[in-house]
């Protein structure tokens, strides 16, 4: 059973539907006991970093999530669900993250020139399909061609202190961390559940992953 963590953030239906399409048995829940009993958990997230952190805390979900991770069970974070794994987020003030990946989450610089059109500046949010370079092999990249397109929508991105945990890189004005991993943790800045067949393939890989 995979539990999708519901803490009042985002379109959980599309995450759940995509997991089901990839062959998973899915429970969407905000109850700490459902997280404690899960074989795998998926932490989604849209919206502001601080709100997401606050909502997780309010629902008393941080401890069961950390226990799940410490027990070595598979964990997938998506978008803000990835950003929350960093040390701190710099969105509307500085907020502490779960610090599973030391580093911070910062905004794209709106004053950078647009690579498509030098007369304009970079559009933020970074919204749409971008290529992801796989920095190293990983079981969740199985069957995914190098430099494939995935769907992104975000204004902030993670800056890990230790670059070896970056397993995917994209370029938007600057190169940025599109996927991080270590041990039983994998997280993507892009949305696999909105990235058509290749996104579903990542979810399928997650469902069969034994770290």
């Amino acid at each position: 059973m995979i539990t999708v963590i519901d803490y009042g953030s985002g379109n959980l239906r599309s995450v759940a539907k995509a997991l089901e399409k990839s062959g998973g048995r899915v429970l969407v829940s905000q109850r700490p006991e459902d997280i404690r009993q899960a074989d795998r958990i998926l932490l989604p997230g849209v919206g502001a970093f601080g709100d997401c952190r606050h909502n997780l805390e309010k629902a008393q979900l941080i401890e069961p999530v950390l226990q799940h991770i410490q027990a070595g069970k598979p964990f997938l974070g998506i978008c803000v669900g990835m950003q929350l794994l960093f040390g701190e987020g710099h969105e509307f003030g500085i907020h502490p993250g779960l610090n599973l990946f030391p580093g911070k989450v910062v905004t794209f610089d709106k004053t950078m020139p647009d690579p498509h059109n030098s007369a304009m500046t970079l559009k933020v949010p970074h919204m749409g399909w971008n290529r992801v370079r796989q920095n190293r092999p990983h079981p969740l990249w199985a069957g995914i061609p190098q430099e494939s397109f995935f769907y992104f929508v975000h204004s902030y991105h993670g800056l890990p202190d230790h670059s070896e945990c970056t397993v995917g890189t994209s370029v938007y004005g600057i190169p940025f961390c599109a996927a991080i991993a270590r041990d039983n943790l994998f997280a993507t800045q892009f949305h696999p559940e909105k990235s058509q067949n290749l996104g579903l393939k990542i979810l399928e890989n997650f469902l069969s992953w034994s770290p």
């Binding site: 539907k17 938007y172 067949n197």
Partner: protein, 258 residues
Amino acid sequence: MLAKRIIPCLDVREGRVVKGVQFEDLIDAGDPVEAASRYDQEGADELTFLDITASHENRDTILDVVRRTAEAVFIPLTVGGGIRTNEDIRRLLNAGADKVGINTAAVFRPEFVQEASSRFGSQCIVVAIDAKCVEKDAHGQPIRWQIFTHGGRKLTGLDAVDWAQRMETYGAGEILLTSMDRDGTKIGYDLALTRAIAQATTIPVIASGGVGTLQHMLEGLQQGGADAVLAASIFHFRQHTIPECKQFLQNRGIEVRL
């Protein structure tokens, strides 16, 4: 590099796809879920449903269409039309929409955009702007546009560029820009309008209204500076497929997802 997006738009009325000319003379163009699945398989980057259901009683029909689409389609789906409250947004997101388009309600009460973006996040709030030229220069080039509401029937007196900037500061994540002068004409996007809005804002702009050829899409991206192009009849009536469109753009140096 970030790919330019190709977005088929489906006007949905009481659960069926329809297509009109300048918001009138509607003809039936099929089942929305079938059409959405076909575009997804062809490689569309996103889908947009505009609900133009006339009566308020039939509003729930779109929720059913969105629900059925979300079972089958795993690319972003935007739904616009008749959205007035946070509750309307919540119901659409729960049904499986990823973004919502707000138009008339934003004009009546701009704070609604602020409330919606702070509750649901800017990434899912698309402000739809229907603009019409109100002034041309000595060479007949459009230089000023105003906002219309109610499917293009009511002039508001609001300047389109000012309005787009204001909507950005209110938390819009994206602008869906439709030229009322060009919609349904197949003579190409209003490039001056598209460029004016794209340069005045720092959020993505989707060009809409007037596509008749693939060349028009190229112009919208290159000369108009749009981040995405939206089209309806060119795809519905099988004049071009999505892969044909993307191949055409790629051959001309545009980054697309193929």
